[in-house]
Amino acid sequence: MKKIPVVRAARGGLSGRRVQAIVIGLVVFASVAAATLALGLLVDSSAPFNHAFAAQRGADVTATVSGASGTQLAATTRLPGVTASAGPFAEASVSVTAQVTPTIHVSSGHEKSTPTTVNQELTLVGRSSPGGPVDDLTLKAGHWPDGPGQVVLSSQAGLPLGVGSQVTVTGLAGSPKLTVVGIATSVTGTAQGWVTPGEIAALHAAGAPQVSQMLYRFSSAATAVAVNKDVAAVTAALPHGSVLGAQSWLDAKAQATGSYAPWVPFIAAFGVIGLVMSVLIVINVVSGAVVAGIRRIGVLKSIGFSPPQVVAAYVLQVAVPAAIGCAAGVTAGNLVAMPMLGQAAQVYGVAGLAVPLWVSVAVPLAMLALVGVTAFVIALRAGRMSAVQAIATGRAPRLERGFFAHRLIGRASRLPRPVTVGLAAPFARPSRSLATLAAIVFGVTAVIFGFGLRTSLDRIQADLSHAASEQVQVLLAGHQGPVLVNGQGSVKVSLAAQERAVQAALRAQPGTHHYVAEASGQLSVLGMSDQLSVVGFDGEASWTGYAMIAGHWYSGTGQVDVNSAFLQDTGTAVGDTYTLTSGGKHTTVQIAGEVFDTAGGQPEMIGSLSTLSAVDSGLTPSEYQVALAPGTNTGSYVNALQSALGKGYLVGVNDSGGTVLPALLGLVAALTLLIAVVAGLGVLNTVVLHTRERVHDLGVFKAIGMTPGQTIAMVVSTVAGTGLAAGLIAIPVGVALHRCVLPVMGKAAQTGLPATVLNVYQAPELILLAVSGLVIAMAGALAPAGWAARTRTATALRAE
């Protein structure tokens, strides 16, 4: 087969149909970008911790050592089985205070309270840089410390501070201050903060032993047995007692896996939608482009092109813009993926995620293959036709498809005529219209699902944190805990006295609405493999904000509420009685309700203190939960109460402003928008094809008096009906997707979900969301509508 005529024919086709080539390139670009991101998310969701661990060269073992020399520590890095190591890094454990401004979750959204002081213990490590052969830290904000008085905090440190904040190190002479210059993440959480090696010496408390951190990667560390063997080898190589502790990567993985499992289903849902839609739209675009060129295929055959040459020319004509689109799309996909995977990493609680290399190779190749195969199949059909047949097919008056629709819709005299002409247009090309409908359905489904998911996640956050009802917590020191009096020394105060003091302060404090003492503990219960988490309230506690999945809040002695894990573990149901036996004591309780509380995956029982102390006499109040009167400023209340109680008690805000929810919501919004944009591009392609096919008719309309405004209305109307229909179809699909995915997420988190989390859609909201189908359709149609309006009438009339 001679190649040069094929290339010339393809080049001619490309230059003659520039708009179409641009649309193909654009749609493939967006589809590849979306598919790269979607598949990257799906792959990373399958084992996000593993991906992040590999990418960050996580430490299989983090050993805390003391009393070993540098030479001895260096020798451990040459042990058989050690594949990489880092350290020794000096380590110090410090107490810090800081001013934080918590975010309060209220019914209308979130509000910032006034600053409060928090105290925290931090493990700081001295490192000169974030990188290294082991534990390659991900710097999320700011920069690495490059001088004294600077600290990079771990995003997992639990301190809601940003770059520029200050922490004060207490317990050291001079109470040195450290400025937060960056936020970083270690995939295995090797420290809560990092300073320069020189700074560690200044933070070292006088008389405390010198402690260092060694990080190791081993050739064999896949199981706990293997890790234990590795730790034993290191311990044996060092002086006796010098290994103070060793953290295994498997512990970090277990923690991360438990925390991200609930989020995988929704990310997978978006990923699947994105992939399927991308494939659908690419097929629609390419098939439309080749069908539009059937007449030209006939002309090429009539001047001597053989069928293989014709097919090759058309495949090439489509493949060139597609290849450009693929290359640009995979680059854009990786760029767009960076912030999204960063958010996903935050959601998953891992250091960092990236699009796997094989995804960046496989997606564009697969899309290009899809384009080629689609173009080949359709061009082959045209190539097999005789030249006359191909020309006639490309030029023939339309089969009588859509004629009835034209007549019927044309009768709607209340609608402007250009609109009725446009509304009838999809019926002339049913296959293409169906593909466009499907694309918009996917887009609106993502919008409806994303909206519902957002609402559910907000409610889950509110329900689990109880932040709306238990705005403030007062921690007691315990039975005989030290209580600082007048700032000097410590005096042991009995629990009863502490409680009296707290209650008096709460009663006296303006803004106090409700309060109740809460006791919590862990019990080994006969018949349960897991420890039972018990929460006992000493007083009326129905206001504490536990969302009910089934049944009702316990009332009085003998009744309890339990979480889903308890019901699963014990095989009981709401309404059953259950005999708790622990430590030789037993009591029979009635399960009044199932609460929505994951309790970290543990079974949990909530009841009155008097009921639960029957099996756990050591169960005593450890904190007070406080609800504030409406309009009370939380930060001011906390500061005033803290001042009234003094330093022996810790008064804190129930801060619901964690980083996971915003990251989740950001990810949901970004994925929804991306899918909607790809759907819009699918619409763009359809409208471009339609206006190009009917350019002559467009000339006729304009010749008989259609204004540019009417032309735009007509062109936009060609997809408006499809958009509206897609929106209506997407309502049950989006709601069903939400109803399917949420329980799967709950199951992954080992909890049922309350009805308030599942029933999030109101009819008026759904209607508005369905209108997004019309919005997507109109957005995709506007550009070609403008082109149609601007086309010179004489030029259009000359088109065939």
Binding site: R407, V700, K702, A703, G705, M706, P708, G709, R792, A794
Partner: protein, 231 residues
Amino acid sequence: MDTLVQLTDVSKQYGIDGLPAVAHLSMEVARGDSVAIMGPSGSGKSTLLNLIAGLDRPTSGAITVGGDRVDTLSETGAARYRRRQVGMIFQFFNLLDDMTVMDNVLLPAQLAGMNDRQARGRADELLAALRIRQHVNAYPARLSGGERQRVAIARALVNRPALLLADEPTGTLDTANGEAIGELLLDLNSSGQTLILVTHNPDLAARYTRRVIEIVDGRVASDACLTGARR
């Protein structure tokens, strides 16, 4: 003379280096007149018609129809002008294949916002006058060439335009149909319709118009009135 159409020094050039399709052309057409514009292929006849219809804009010069400047209209203005003032008949009919005969005829009236009942009444009247009322629900593909051209004429007349422009209206018709269409146009002109007709057929021009303007290389080569009956 009640001048309906006036062209003053009109030129139209496509591209910077191209030869002008119309060059410094001036002419006037009186209300009620019937004019044939003739010339060899590529002489600028159709371009001239497009300029008068506002389908294209001249490179220079002025075009006035019914006292209004056509050459300076925006696209919206030109579309409105065509609705009100101009009815167009094309060589290849330019009917919309997916609309019935009635819907094709109604279209200009609907675009102009005419009341539906009024528009249907007018369309009915025209279809009856043009003897194609029996095809009111048929699609153009099922009609003969002559019938399609009648539909096109009905569509062109539905808004009672001051000016009827016909570009080779019998070009694709057989002799009998061509004559029938010619007679139709003659009848319309007799009842006061101003007609400008582009044709390369001197016989058509002689029989159905009163004046012939010959265009050569975009310029008026001759402008002659024809005398006597043409039937």
